[in-house]
Each structure stands twice: as C-alpha cells, then as structure tokens.
C-alpha cells in the first residue's frame, strides 16, 4: 500500500520533511472526526491535514475500513461523522432516556435526610426554611435513595425518612457514618470558617435499626397515608 500513497502531500514549504503515509493521514482524519462534536466538513479536514492531502481518498479508505464494524463512518453532504452501525442501534437503547441531574432542591432534601435521619418532613422544612414540594420526595424515592423508616412516637405520629442501601452504594459510602462531619467539611472548603459557634452537624443514625422514638412502619400505615395504593387490585 505504501508506494503509491506516500506522496499524498506535496508540502511546498517543507514543514513536514517526511511525507505522510495514507495510514497516518487516515489516523489523523479518524481522530479529528471522532473528537468533534459536530459532523466534520471536508474543508476542516483539509485545514488540519498536510497540504495536498487527497481528502476524498482518505475518507473513502476510512469508510471502507469501518464498514463492517460496529461503528461506521458516514457522510452527510460534505460532512463526516461516526455513527453506531444501523443494525446495532438496538444496543443503544434510546428509550432509556438520559440520566437526569438531581435538582438543587432534591439534593438538599436528600442531604438533609442523609445527615438528619430519622427525620420527618416537617423537620426537613424547618431546616431548609422552605416548603418541600411533594415532587421532590417522589424523585428521591424513584431514584431509590430514600425510604420511609418508621413513625415518630410523637403527636401526629409523623413518618420518618431515611436513606436506603442503594444510597450508600451510589455515593460510594460504606456506612452512613462515613459522611464527613463538621470539621471535615470545613477542611475541605465546603463550609466556610465563619459559622456560628453553636453550629453542628448531626451524626446520622444507622438505617437498619429504628431509633427509640420510632415505631416500625406498617403496610397499613402506608395505605392510610395514601403512599401506597390499597392492595387488592392488580397493578400493571
């Protein structure tokens, strides 16, 4: 393959003393198309490749190389891009949707639940100073990070919230006590040094045991609270 291809570049100004082989030119074009966020016009490739490179020949060689592979080099107009081979599009399950970022509010509520558990909804609102929308908790439940722990033995028997094992798993924690404390948050620059002297950060109470002030939550409780649809009907 070498003989005919070696003279792809007639470098006028001798920048490249050794002419690029087709293989080298292909490598460059390949990397450029790969790294680009947009399909790459041939004119752009011409700019980056040595003067006189035969772009169509290079791209044709590359496209041929990729044709049987799981990823193909395709051309739309005069632009080039890599795309998953059409017959494999099923592996890229589109329906999964994108991973959603948690909203600021959800992050705050999650953090409060993690540090202050067992914690009731009213307590969360007290700490945040704003009302928490129903949707925020729903999102955290849906993510599988937050669960109902039990009911507080206090007037109204409010439901207490806590984190799940999946929470620990997702955030790479072995146990809840691995959450950094006040000094460590300060040292990491997350809390400023200018905090009032009474300021404290609680040590979360392990998720498994209920605290003394908690009763276990029952199926009935959940139904009563409207958190579970009454059993009986077949759900889809």
């Amino acid at each position: 393959m070498s003989g005919s291809n070696e003279h792809l570049i007639e470098n006028d100004d001798d920048i490249v003393s050794e002419p690029l082989t087709l293989t080298e030119a292909c490598r460059i074009a390949e990397a450029l198309v790969f790294a680009s966020a947009e399909p790459v016009p041939e004119s752009f490739l011409a700019e980056r490749l040595p003067l006189g490179s035969d772009i169509p020949a290079i791209m044709a060689a590359l496209a041929e190389l990729y044709a049987p592979r799981g990823v193909n080099l395709i051309r739309t107009g005069d632009r080039w891009a890599f795309r998953t081979a059409a017959d494999l599009s099923f592996v890229i399950r589109k329906e999964e949707g994108e991973v959603k970022k948690l909203s600021r509010a959800a992050l705050e509520v999650l953090a409060i639940i993690a540090y202050h558990q067992p914690v009731t909804r009213a307590e969360i609102e007290e700490i945040r100073g704003v009302q928490t929308s129903r949707g925020t908790l729903d999102v955290l439940m849906e993510a599988g990070w937050v669960r109902f722990r039990g009911r507080r033995r206090s007037p109204g028997r409010p439901v207490t919230l806590g984190t799940t094992p999946d929470f620990l798993d997702h955030f790479g924690l072995e146990e809840l006590r691995d959450l950094p404390g006040l000094e460590e948050l300060k040292a990491a620059g997350l809390l400023s040094g200018r905090i009032p002297s009474g300021f404290s950060i609680p040590i979360p109470i392990g998720a498994d045991e209920l605290s003394e002030e908690e009763d276990p939550i029952t199926q009935l409780d959940l139904e009563e609270l409207g958190l579970l649809a009454p059993s009986g009907g077949d759900e889809e």
Partner: protein
C-alpha cells in the same frame, strides 16, 4: 523576659512601610508568599546545597533557615507562626547536634535521629513534588487525548436514572446549612496565635521531640515582643488540652520556672470513674 521600650505596634509599622520608611530603610521585602510553608522553604534551601538530600548537612540547613528568619525579623516582616515554630525546632535540633553525645539514658531521639527525620521529610516532600509534575505532564484527557465528541448514549450502571455525586450532595448540604445558619458573626481580628494554631503547632513540633524540652525557650526569641504574651498564653492553654488527651506531658520544677514539655504516652485521660483513679499514676 525583656520588654523593649521602643516597640511600635506591627500594624503601624506595616502602614508606615510604604510611606516614609521607604526612604531610610533598604525596604527589603521577603517573599514568603512564594513558599508553601516552612518545609518548602527548607527544601528550597536544601537544593541550594546542591547535594543529594540524603547527604545534606542538616546543621548547615538549620543555619540557613535561622538566618533567613533572622533577616526577616530584621526587616520586620511578620512571618506566619508555622515558620517561627520551625525555627524554634531547628534551634533545638541545632543544640542537640552540637552538645556532646550523652550517655544513652534519655529516652528522646538523638540529634542525629531528629536530623534524619528532617532529611526524610524533605526527601518525601521532594518525591511527591516530582510525582506531581510527572502526573501533570502525562497525556491528559481534554488536552492531549480526547473522548468522543458526539456521544450517542450515556451508559449508566444500574437502575438509578438520576445522577449526583457525593461532592454535589455535600456541597448542597453545606451551602444550605450555611445559608440558614444565623450569620451575625463578628469577625475577630486575627491574632497571631489562636488556641487552635498553638495546638496544631505544638503537636507538630512535639511529634519529633521525645525529650523534656522547654519549648518556650526556643520559640520566644523568634516572636515579636508584643506577640510573646499571646503566644505564651495560647501555647500554655493548648498544652493543657493536649495533656488532658494524653498527647503531652508537662513538668515545671517550681513557680516561675521554665515549663518543660514532652510527648505523651498517647493514652487519653478519659473522664470516666475508672480511669480517673488510674490516671494519676
């Protein structure tokens, strides 16, 4: 303790520097800002000895450092307490190196051992620095090598359709708590020696001194006269705290005698009934 009469408060001195002082003084500036602490400065000085770190003359190094601190003091530059404590430690080290070797009846490390510790720390710091520069000069993602510019999907490990890192979580929490905390804090003018500072510095210094030492003796000469009182007070308060935790032992032979310190056994004096009795052994 001598109290010099002609002491001008630090603040005033600083203010004056720009105005009239510039004329009569050579107005030297010490650029401590370029250094990441005393160990960094020592490493810099050590490199100027142009020998391998394991063959360095610790004594000469100590000399150079002390000289540096002296010059800083001469031009009335306020050095961070870290630098002063290192100076005190080196002065102590120097005295240990220079006195004739005693019979091996004291339990502290010898001057030689202390010197070896210092050389080790310098070498380790230098090694980390080299490692850092090798690391940063690797082919880095986003600078030298690139990922797919037009990704077609994001693989996610498991069920969770949501993404958040521990850092996101912690910073959200810290921000929230900070925001809602009652922030009517009056910021105190920073003293040279807070209790926390003193504690930190004492711990660091005593880590390497096993013997009874009158730290004040080594430390005070490096402090500006008006700082000596606060330094003494803070260091004393901090040392009491450290004693309670078992990290320090303290001795004074009589009223107004020098206070000797040494590293504790490491057994905290737990304020429980059982250990209170045992604690006073």
């Amino acid at each position: 303790m001598t109290t010099s009469q002609n002491v001008i408060p630090m603040d005033k001195l600083w203010q004056d520097v720009g105005i009239e002082k510039a004329a009569d003084d050579p107005a030297l500036m010490i650029d401590v800002a370029g250094f990441e602490g005393p160990l960094d400065l020592l490493l810099h000085l050590a490199r100027s000895q142009k020998v391998d770190l394991s063959r360095i003359s610790v004594l000469a190094l100590a000399e150079q450092y002390l000289l540096f601190v002296e010059s800083a003091r001469r031009v009335r530059i306020e050095l961070a307490a870290d630098y002063l404590v290192m100076a005190a430690w080196l002065a102590y080290l120097k005295s240990r190196l220079l006195i004739p070797k005693q019979a091996k009846d004291d339990d502290g490390p010898s001057g030689e051992e202390m010197a070896a510790t210092l050389a080790f720390r310098l070498k380790r710091l230098e090694a980390m620095r080299d490692a850092a520069s090798r690391l940063v000069n690797r082919n880095r993602l986003g600078r030298d090598i690139f990922s797919r510019g037009a990704p077609e999907h994001i693989p996610h490990r498991s069920q969770s359709a949501f993404d958040a890192s521990l850092y996101d979580l912690l910073s959200a929490y810290a921000n929230l708590r900070q925001r809602t905390a009652v922030t009517q804090v009056t910021i105190e003018r920073r003293k040279v020696w807070s209790l926390v500072d003193a504690r930190e510095l004492l711990t660091r210094m005593l880590g390497e001194i096993g013997d009874w030492t009158a730290l004040q003796h080594y430390l005070l000469p490096y402090l500006a006269p008006e700082d000596r009182v606060t330094a003494t007070a803070s260091a004393f308060a901090a040392s009491l705290e450290l004693v309670r935790e078992g990290r320090l032992e303290i001795r004074q032979d009589g009223a107004f005698q020098p206070i000797y310190l040494r590293k504790g056994e490491g057994r905290p004096v737990v304020p429980s009934a059982a250990s209170i009795a045992e604690g006073s052994r």
